[in-house]
């Protein structure tokens, strides 16, 4: 895997850091949208290389973090039904619902399994015709094509015991919501490279224009992130509100046409609730009418369960970049990855967990 040596090259990273230091004349706040980027910024200690005047805000781009509690409760209620196999990606299992997480439901006897692809869940449904197999379809635009493909194949092959619990969210409406917030302090964005590999960059131009901010489509390796920051800072210094693509090796300007066609075939855009952010209009996907038979919420009649959140958790502010994890009174005390109070402490992409795990070493003074 060449990209590991090429895009983690220490000399390149340091040279970019040097160039950034030479460019900056004023303080700037930049948000990386994607949890994968947050994870790597923390893992590689990249903030240590930035001038003090640059602050990074960590965005809501962690699918696990923004899945609403009500849906997690719903997934647990479905998993507890007889003859159901509930499948999900790994870190979803530890996200606290109102009363418990999916791991605890599994310990109570529910059949909850980790899969690596929605197509694995579909295969499981074919192998277990006497069970209902439900895939908890969370994620941004990145995971939407694979989830759409699972539904498409289920329809084509008439796999009637397969359904998905949809919690799909979209990046551009979230950026709109963040920028319209009166408390917003973000001046530039690093857009998520993998999301744009599907959607392309066109949706970001109107945002850059409307709010007068630069957006740089950025990859995930240290060199990518540093280059993304360098471009974003340069644009901020020059006062240019445009979209640039640092990740052109992966992101074509128009995205991935077959993937987008598949998404449009299966899903339609709808309002979505985001954990910590509330309901954002037109910010997610729902199954189209023609595929509603694969909607787990229709297949299982689960009454709405009143959901509970920890009252002291400031996850919403952290996800909006208004507060840092360290400003939360629960951070490291009542809230740790072992006993998470809010979702950003669960996933390694969540800002709180990333800070907890990789927090910068306090240099001994």
């Amino acid at each position: 895997m060449k990209h590991l040596s090429e895009y983690r090259n220490p000399d390149r990273v340091r040279k970019i850091a040097q160039a950034i230091a030479e460019t900056v004349t004023r303080p700037w706040t930049i948000m990386e949208i994607c949890g994968g980027q947050t994870h790597n910024i923390a893992r590689f200690g990249l903030e240590e290389l930035l001038p003090k005047s640059i602050s990074l805000a960590h965005g809501p781009g962690c699918p696990v973090c923004v899945t609403p509690v009500s849906l997690i409760d719903k997934s647990i209620a479905i998993a507890r039904q007889p003859d159901v196999i509930l499948c999900s990606f790994g870190d979803m299992l530890r996200v606290p619902g109102s009363r418990q997480d999916l791991f605890a439901a599994r310990a109570d006897g529910a059949d909850v399994r980790i899969v690596y692809s929605p197509l694995d869940a579909l295969a499981l449904a074919k192998r277990n015709p006497d069970k209902q197999v439900v895939f908890f379809a969370v994620g941004f635009e990145t995971t939407a094509p694979a989830n759409a493909m699972a539904v498409f194949q289920a329809a084509e092959k008439r796999v009637s015991n397969f359904s998905i619990l949809v919690s799909h969210v979209l990046v551009p409406p979230a950026i709109h919501a963040l920028l319209s917030d009166p408390e917003n302090r973000v001046q530039g964005f690093l857009a998520a490279g993998h999301v744009c590999a599907i959607t392309g960059e066109s949706e970001y131009w109107p945002i850059a224009k409307k709010y007068g901010i630069p957006i740089v489509v950025t990859g995930f390796e240290p060199v990518d992130i540093m280059l993304g920051l360098q471009r974003c800072i340069t644009l901020l210094e020059e006062g240019r509100a445009v979209v640039e693509n640092q990740y052109a090796r992966i992101v074509p300007p128009d995205g991935n046409a077959p993937a987008l066609r598949l998404i449009r075939e299966i899903f339609e855009v709808s309002d979505r609730e985001w954990r910590g952010l509330g309901t954002i209009p037109q910010s997610g996907f729902t199954l189209r009418k023609s595929y509603q038979e694969f909607d787990a919420t229709r297949r299982f009649s689960i009454p709405d369960i009143p959901s509970r959140e920890s009252p002291d958790c400031i996850a919403g502010k952290v996800l909006r970049g208004i507060s840092t994890p360290m400003q939360c009174p629960l951070f490291e005390t009542k809230c740790t990855p072992t006993r998470p109070q809010g979702a950003p402490m669960v996933s390694s992409e969540g800002a709180c967990a990333a800070y907890y795990r990789y927090r910068r070493v306090q240099t001994a003074s």
Binding site: H39, F89, V115, E349, Y358, V361
Partner: protein, 350 residues
């Protein structure tokens, strides 16, 4: 007496091709397992006594005593199987106490329906591992659980060894300036097992590092190296071992990312699954903390053994100011604080 060449199970297929509940009942079928499989394969005079336990003489002095249970799935994976793992697990734990492992007990929990041939292969593999470690399997027990109540085979091993280190091997013995030596590349066992698991669709040729480390450790004492602390890097991997040592020794540790060997295949698999090789399990790797002046000799001694061929120096024990911590100096030159994972490392979504 079976030799390595005898690859088929001596219990005729027509009799009992699979384990039944009666094999754990203590009656004739239990005896048959002992007579035809365990006793002849492990082939130890103490086993032939058919006593309730093993009676033997040991040298007087300090002993180390340890136990380890194994529930790995799948039972066979590239580079090893549950039998080899069960022997190496306890052997390595005893070696890490600064002792020479001598006797093992084996407790099998078998699931009704387990193919006899599978048990046979596992037992043969235990024999090989015990031979390579130079330990004797001298007592054991078998229970059978109903079909569906187990994963084929669970194995517990316990063991006793004679302490051979002249000074206590413990985090408390660590001193500022000591060198941290890693015995080889990390992450192979965890990735090999994960790749072999059903449902994970990527091809890999990664072999588990599963191996007994005791002869390599004994060689360090033969060379009169003043070993301060030893730790095998099992669940939780290198990072967890470093964090635990820092916390119990009250000393700070710094390791250099660029000096920690990770095979490119392991690194790629970890990238794909969203895992961090520093936290991935190993079953044949350890760290030795030794005085700085002894690090050359330690590495050269380790390199004489297949399990230590990749031995290298990865860091130092630092002067502690404030709370002790384990840090990684990244290739980029930044610092990352290592801390314990809660539970298992879970693959990330994207």
């Amino acid at each position: 007496m079976p030799t390595k060449k005898q690859l088929t199970c001596p219990i005729p297929q027509s009799d009992y091709p699979k384990i039944t509940l009666a094999h754990g009942g203590g009656g004739l079928l239990s005896n048959e397992l002992v007579d035809k499989i365990f006793a002849p394969v492990f082939n130890d005079p103490l086993l032939y006594e058919r006593h309730d336990g093993a009676r033997t003489n040991v040298k007087t002095g300090e002993i180390a005593f340890s136990t380890d249970s194994h529930v790995v799935k799948p039972l066979f994976f590239p580079g090893g199987d549950i039998g080899k793992l069960a022997v190496c697990g306890t052997v390595n734990d005893i070696a890490m106490c600064g002792a020479k492992p001598e006797f093992l007990s084996v407790g099998f929990i078998l699931e009704e329906g387990l193919p006899m041939e599978t048990l046979w292969q596992v037992v043969l593999s235990m024999k090989e591992a015990a031979k390579s470690a130079g330990v004797r399997i001298v007592t054991g027990d078998t229970k059978v659980v109903e079909h569906g109540k187990g994963d084929g085979i669970y194995i517990n091993t316990s063991g006793i060894g004679q302490i051979i280190s002249p000074t206590p091997i413990s985090p408390a013995s660590i001193q500022t300036g000591d060198a941290i030596i890693l015995s080889g590349d990390i992450g192979r066992h965890g990735v090999a097992v994960m790749a072999a698991r059903e449902g994970l669709q990527f091809e890999s040729h990664i072999q588990s590092d599963c191996a007994p480390l005791n002869r390599m450790i004994e060689a360090l004492f033969d060379e009169n190296i003043e070993v301060r602390c030893l730790r095998d890097l099992t669940r939780g991997g290198l990072a967890t071992a470093l964090v635990e040592i820092a916390s119990s020794s009250k000393q700070s540790i710094e390791v250099l990312e660029t000096t920690i060997p990770v095979k490119p295949e392991v690194e790629s698999a970890c990238e794909l699954l969203g895992l961090d090789p520093l936290f991935v399990a190993n079953e044949g790797r350890c760290i030795a903390i030794v005085p700085e002046k002894a690090y050359d000799l330690t590495i050269n001694t380790m390199k004489r053994f297949a399990c230590g061929r990749g031995a290298c120096r990865i860091g130092v024990i630092e002067k502690t100011s404030g709370s002790p911590q384990a840090t990684l100096r990244t290739a980029i030159g930044t610092h990352r604080l290592l801390s314990l994972f809660s539970g298992e490392q879970l693959p990330r979504i994207c």
